[in-house]
């Protein structure tokens, strides 16, 4: 089968790999129909995630059709159309029993701090991902979700990670009616966090970034105020000026380890690897949120340590919430929102490219060229399966 393969920092190509086989009685094999490149894939692409092995296939946002099931799989049949949450989870461990599916303890031997994730290095279990023609899908009775007939396939693929992560980011901010919410990052997760903040009754939503086309897109798609941080002298002071001198009620970090905006943070966190990524947004968020405010983090950082202003967080009495999204628990409500017209996730897709052009797709997304917000990869032969992609309004 054709699959994307990592060759080193900033280098990927397509290769022919053996088609995955059932390795466990709860496995299924899924033929991929659509697969996205996620912003967090860029951390892998840039060589920042430890134990990213050459030859790995990335991709944790994908939908497809079941082509084989293991002997213990009862909920899926060959031919089913499924969206596959990025979390690989067992459903019965201590954490899954508490609906913390993103923290499953039974699917990633290589680490205990993070659960299993498709195509996200051996630090998250060493699974191949969905930027390929076929994927091995473990614990197939609980992970994959049947795609309802009325759900557009491109909305479905964004339900595997980007939309639930953005929604959970807003949810962890514990937004109350009238709150001022500052979202750092105008990428897909930031856009969905901003839209979700409105659903939760925010009074103001402000998105911060430095890429003009992304800010314009955010203003249009999320109907929010925007700040270009290159035009701001000091972020905390600027946010205070905008919020009656108090600061925002909620700040949400949708950027993570590769934040721009501070030379020293970039040098120590990204170039020299002296800390687990640039903590620029964490600094801005702690210092821009009001006393007693809430800070929600979904931006991805490395496993070591970051220079973080914990003293200010203590003195301000902040509540910090963060996690990998527990995708499965969000799906019913988010599908309701899509059906009701509250959200139309597929509007953020700017690029649809054949899997064979994966190197170009990564470069466009990474370098923010050609107005790229979200790139979707189409494996060869996927459209021959006859899915009604693109036919819905």
């Amino acid at each position: 089968m054709l699959a994307m393969a990592y060759r080193g920092p900033y280098r990927v190509r397509t290769v022919h790999k053996p088609t995955p086989a059932i390795e466990h009685p709860h496995d299924a094999i899924v033929r991929v129909v659509r697969s996205c490149i996620c912003g967090s894939d860029l951390h892998l692409y840039h060589g920042l995630v430890p134990d990213t092995r050459v030859g790995s296939t990335f991709g944790h946002e994908f939908i497809g059709q079941v082509v084989d099931v293991g002997s213990e799989v009862r909920s899926l049949r060959v031919g089913d159309r499924v969206l596959v949450p990025f979390n690989i989870f067992c459903g019965t461990c201590f954490f899954c029993q508490r609906e913390l599916y993103g923290n499953c303890h039974a699917t990633n031997p290589e680490a205990t701090a993070v659960g299993g994730i498709y195509g996200y290095s051996h630090t998250t279990g060493g699974y191949d991902g969905g930027q390929a023609e076929f994927v091995r899908v473990p614990m197939a009775d609980v992970g994959p979700t049947l795609i309802p007939d009325d759900l557009h396939a491109e909305d479905a693929v964004l339900l595997t990670d980007a939309l639930p992560t953005g929604y959970q980011a807003a949810e962890m901010g514990d937004i109350r009616e009238g709150d001022t919410v500052v979202v750092f990052g105008a990428g897909p997760i930031g856009l969905f966090a901003a839209r979700s903040a409105w659903l939760m009754g925010a009074g103001r939503v402000i998105v911060v970034d430095h890429v003009p086309y992304r800010l314009e897109f955010a203003a249009r798609y999320a109907q929010c105020e925007t700040i270009n941080f290159l035009e701001v002298n000091d972020m905390a002071e600027h946010i205070k000026r905008m919020t009656d001198g108090l600061g925002a009620d909620v700040c949400i970090d949708c950027v993570g380890a590769e934040a721009e905006g501070n030379f020293l943070q970039r040098l120590t966190g990204v170039r020299m690897k002296w800390q687990a990524g640039a903590a620029t947004v964490l600094h801005w968020a702690v210092n821009s949120v009001r006393k007693g405010g809430r800070l929600s983090i979904v931006g991805v950082y490395g496993p070591t340590f970051n220079a973080f202003p914990i003293g200010n967080a203590l003195n301000k009495g902040l509540t910090l919430r963060m996690n990998q999204a527990s995708v499965k628990r969000h799906l019913p409500r988010l599908i309701e929102h899509i059906r009701a017209g509250h959200l139309r996730p597929r509007d953020i897709i700017t690029h649809r490219m054949p899997l064979e052009e994966v190197a170009d797709a990564y470069h466009l997304f990474s370098s923010k060229l050609d107005g790229c917000i979200k790139a979707v990869l189409i494996p060869p032969g996927a459209d021959a399966l006859g899915w009604p992609i693109g036919s819905a309004a």
Partner: protein, 191 residues
């Protein structure tokens, strides 16, 4: 701006600014009509409508579970596990097992817990060694890697031609200087 109250010596210009400086700020009640243009504004105000509230929820709302614990996957390749757990998990990935010098480094890294910085630094080093091994492996199997294409060069040329030219000039300049230094050293050595 001299009259900016946010400057170190700036003074509040009116009562509102004095109140803001002192935190005596009271927000007026919110008018939902202001948000009529935003689809779905406020429909999840009630926290009972938010699917991940409370954070921990038992029993889980999952269909299709017919096992107490998943059966153990049998290893067919070398799989390393964290020293912070007592063995392999029931399910795991089997892609790209450790091999070569990078594999030796990975095995060394996994001797340390996730709590130990050495584990992560050794793994990052292994990743870099793996890249060199990957290039060597390509050449050994007769495959000349198309580095520029693998780095998205076609997209760069199409969508950022000026940047592509800048990078080409920079690479050529660095290579030229390196060649000139090497030649000079060779000439000095032969004297």
């Amino acid at each position: 701006m001299n009259d900016d109250p946010y400057r170190p010596h700036g003074q509040s210009r009116d009562a509102h600014e004095r109140d803001m400086a002192a935190g005596h700020v009271h927000r007026p009640p919110l008018d939902p009509a202001r948000y009529a243009h935003i689809p779905g504004w406020g429909v999840d105000r009630d926290k009972r409508d938010r699917p991940a509230v409370p954070m921990e929820r038992t029993p889980p709302r999952l269909d299709g579970i017919h096992w107490d614990r998943p059966p153990q996957q049998h290893p067919t390749v070398e799989v390393l596990h964290s020293t912070e757990r007592s063995g392999l998990t029931p399910v795991y990935g089997t892609t790209v097992p450790p091999c070569g010098l990078s594999g030796m480094l990975r095995r060394a890294g996994f001797r340390y817990s996730e709590n130990d910085l050495r584990r992560w630094l050794i793994l990052l080093l292994a990743d870099r060694v793996d890249v060199v091994e990957g290039l060597a492996g390509d050449v050994a199997t007769g495959h000349v890697p198309r580095l520029y294409t693998e780095m998205g060069g076609r997209a760069e040329l199409r969508h950022n031609p000026a940047g592509a030219v800048r990078k080409a000039v920079t690479v050529a300049a660095v290579a030229g200087v390196a060649y000139w230094l090497w030649q000079r050293r060779r000439r000095d050595g032969s004297r």
